[in-house]
């Protein structure tokens, strides 16, 4: 019965271990009690669903919206986000500015009370340092191209220009910053709202590895120095990021929020449950099948805003039969975009009748595309495939996601039924999908594009010949000319004229199938105030507050 003794020993030991663990747990597990939604309203703490864990908080290394939402509360650029209209500028670090006659030289005057969170004043030299860092060939700034609008910036980055003082940015004095641009750029102000133009605090960077250090040590809460309305207080990876009202921010007296928690929740249903159980004020998304019932039963909670982006399919024009413009037109006119938006995506998106989304002041979006099955069939017949006969089976490529899958299944079925062809679906995981798209190893590929700043050119320049984001194999010399001319236009009117003509070419040749223009759908606690629909979804958090 040694066995019995052994078992007893084991059980006793197991029990002891279990008890110890349980005790340890109860004692240690007392994590910070996070405020729930009600407590948040009382304490002025906003609970925000941010969709994913940010990869970095360094504005010169960031590339995504997730990162931007947090970076833009920690750091402020020359121009800040306007409260209600993304077309309009709002003074940020710069309190006023002027430009020369053809908008190729801009001068910004920085406000005197702009400070970094350690008390240092924000100076023009800080901006120059930041741009040099971004453009330095030894620094892999993934969004450096945004800065190419400055004279010699591109040259500096690819090594042709060795001396940074030749690049078109200059600290005239502590509070005056001057830009020399490659050409007239009337919309330069809008570009400056992008985080790639944000400054960083030079002493902090230098103290934590130097300009080219990739470890991101300076972005840790204990080191981070920013000049924005909030400071970085706590960063618990995959759990939350907490920011606190900055005591040094120049506009702090108008702020009424004390803290913001950013929760990196990837699963839409988890977010929904958190919101329903009172743990969030604002969600990042809403599961699409929930939207109709929410709009019907709880319209005060659901918030749908237009978002500056286009959901579209790329067509690989190097592969027959997609090299035939008639085929591409057939594909475009055979889709009932209204049905997709009303039945599949359910988020009040706008069926696209062009490529560039609506929402720009004064840009006359053309109306070209629509649903016309008869016309579509006629195009297909003209292309040599009457009734779909002889049309090869093509694949629609998309990356893994419930949303993309739903849309792809619906669209493929529409094409098949309307045109009598037999398209199929191909679902690939993210990196494989990207790889296939970059190497033109696809027939039709699902894509999306969000505007970087408020100008249509951010949507149109990618289709120039050889552009890294073209990925369709399409090339049109006249289009290239027009885009180049748009970059050199002296007036907004001339600028838009060129862009419109270019877009019309794009919509005639159709190397793409635009589907709809995005909306952002969120669940929002009605006690959140100061929250206005913004096309670029850039919210000046300093104006947001909570009230009963």
């Amino acid at each position: 019965m040694a066995m019995k003794v052994l078992l007893n020993c084991h059980f006793r030991r197991l029990a002891a271990i279990a008890a110890a663990v349980a005790a340890g747990l109860l004692l240690s597990g007392c994590g910070a009690g996070l405020p729930n939604a009600d407590q948040g309203v009382e304490q002025g703490v906003l609970l925000f669903g941010n969709g994913a864990e940010p990869k970095t908080l360094d504005p010169q290394r960031a590339t995504g919206v997730t990162e931007n939402r947090i970076i833009s509360v920690l750091i402020e650029g020359l121009i800040a986000y306007h409260l209600t209209d993304d077309n309009l500028p709002e003074p940020g670090v710069a309190e006023r500015w002027e430009h020369n006659e053809d908008a190729s030289v801009w001068t910004f005057h920085l406000r005197g009370d702009a400070r970094w969170s350690n008390g240092d004043p924000v100076t023009a030299a800080d901006f120059v340092y930041s741009y040099e860092r971004m453009l330095n060939p030894a620094f892999p700034g993934e969004y450096a191209q945004m800065l190419y609008i400055m004279e010699n910036a591109e040259g500096y980055q690819n090594g042709e220009v060795a001396d940074f003082s030749r690049v078109g940015v200059e600290a005239v004095d502590d509070k005056t910053l001057r830009f020399r641009l490659v050409g007239p750029t009337p919309y330069f102000i809008n570009m400056l709202k992008h985080y790639s133009w944000f400054p960083v605090h030079p002493p902090t960077i230098e103290a934590h590895g130097g300009r080219f250090d990739m470890s991101g040590e300076w972005t840790l809460p204990e080191n981070f120095v920013g000049n924005g309305p909030f400071t970085l207080t706590e960063w618990r990876p995959n759990q939350y990021i907490r920011v606190t009202r900055s005591p040094t921010y120049w506009d702090r007296d108008r702020m009424r929020l004390n803290e913001v928690y950013f929760f990196p929740i990837e699963d839409g249903n988890t977010e929904r449950r958190m919101f329903d159980s009172g743990l969030l004020h604002v969600t990042g998304t809403v599961p699409s099948n929930d939207i109709p019932s929410l709009r019907r039963d709880k319209p005060e909670l659901i918030n749908i805003d237009d978002y500056l982006g286009t959901y579209f399919f790329r067509l690989n024009v190097t592969r027959p039969p997609l090299d035939n413009p008639l085929v591409r037109k057939a594909l475009n006119f055979a889709i009932d975009r209204k049905a997709i938006v009303e039945r599949v995506t359910l988020g009040d998106q706008k069926p696209a009748h062009a490529f560039v989304p609506e929402g720009f002041n004064d840009y006359p979006n053309p109306r070209v595309l629509g649903y016309d099955p008869g016309r579509a069939r006629a195009y297909l017949a003209e292309a040599g495939y009457p009734g779909g006969e002889g049309f090869p089976s093509l694949y629609l490529l998309f990356n893994t996601s419930e949303g993309h899958r739903k849309i792809a299944e619906a669209v493929v079925d529409m094409w098949n039924r309307t045109l009598g062809i037999s398209m199929q679906l191909e679902n690939k995981e993210w990196k494989v999908y990207l790889d296939a798209q970059t190497h033109l190893d696809y027939d039709i590929s699902r894509s999306g594009w969000i505007g970087d700043y408020m100008d249509p050119i951010t949507f149109l320049e990618m289709f120039t010949t050889g552009n890294g984001n073209n990925d369709t194999g399409w090339s049109n010399a006249r289009y290239d000319e027009l885009i180049a001319a748009a970059f050199r236009s002296r007036t907004q009117e001339e600028h838009f004229d060129h862009l419109l003509e270019a877009e019309l070419i794009l919509l005639e040749e159709l190397p793409i199938v635009p589907l709809y223009w995005y909306t952002r759908i969120r669940l929002t606690d009605p006690r959140v105030r100061g929250w206005y629909p913004k096309l670029l979804d850039n919210r000046p958090m300093k104006h947001v507050h909570l009230a009963e």
């Binding site: 249903n269 599961p287 699409s288 099948n289 929930d290 019932s293 009932d336 049905a339 997709i340 009303e342 039945r343 599949v344 990356n399 893994t400 419930e402 899958r405 739903k406 792809a408 299944e409 619906a410 493929v412 079925d413 529409m414 199929q424 679906l425 191909e426 679902n427 690939k428 995981e429 494989v432």
Partner: protein, 308 residues
Amino acid sequence: MDLKNPRLSPSAQRLPAPAVDLDAIESGASLWQDAWHRLRKNHLAVGSLWVLAFMALFCFVGPLLSPYDYFATDLEKTLLTPSRQHWFGTDDLGRDQLTRVMTGGRVSLGVGLIATAVSLLIGVVYGATAAYVGGKADAVMMRVVDVLYALPFTIFVILLMTLFERSIVLLFVVIGAVEWLTMARIVRGQVLSIKKQEFVEAAVSLGYTTRRIILRHIIPNVLGVVAVYATLTVPAVILLESFLSFLGLGVQPPMPSWGSLIKLGADNIQLYPHLLIIPAFFFSLTLFSLNFLGDGLRDALDPKSSKD
């Protein structure tokens, strides 16, 4: 065959006295006949067999009889609850759920069958051999299993899927190739304990080849545990397929599988429960049947398990 338990089947009792014909005494036929006989008496197991047969018919023949195609969307009729036109309702693209559940069953049953068979085959032979042979060979074989176990499954699947493009059969094989590892370990454990039993020593002293001992003596005695574990592998395999679809590595849309249908249902529990309840019901029914069948098989195949 248990020499100590002389319950031979009636037919064997009537055989003429053998001139030491080992094959006749030990022929698998009487073991299997015996097992089948016992199985037939187990009502639960027989019932399960019928259910599974119905399920197979339902999934493989059913879609041919349905007026709807599993991929035919109808955007005017999305998310309908069960009605006369759509006995199981429609999904979020207006497709008929009945047809999709039937078609999904093809994938799930297929995966269940093929992947489990693959894993069974490889796992049982590998594990039994390793345990029986013992020594250094056993150590090496089990270390190989350890290595394979620790390799990141996700990467492995990504690689295979990219190399071999869009193939359903490959998917089944990949899943089977992952599951055999656990089977091998379990079988090895069982065999190690059987190895020490007297009838095996008897066989060895009678001079039988290793191969014969493994195939005729060891494996039949392991079948009980294997049967049970096989009935656990099937649901694991079906769910693994759905997990792969969840990650974008499974069956290509619009082809459904019970796993992907259940996943869709789980996302919409609150508002459209019919999307979950119906595929989950079929899935569970199949698993319950496999479970009882597995138990029945184990009882039938175990020469010592009697109900007296």
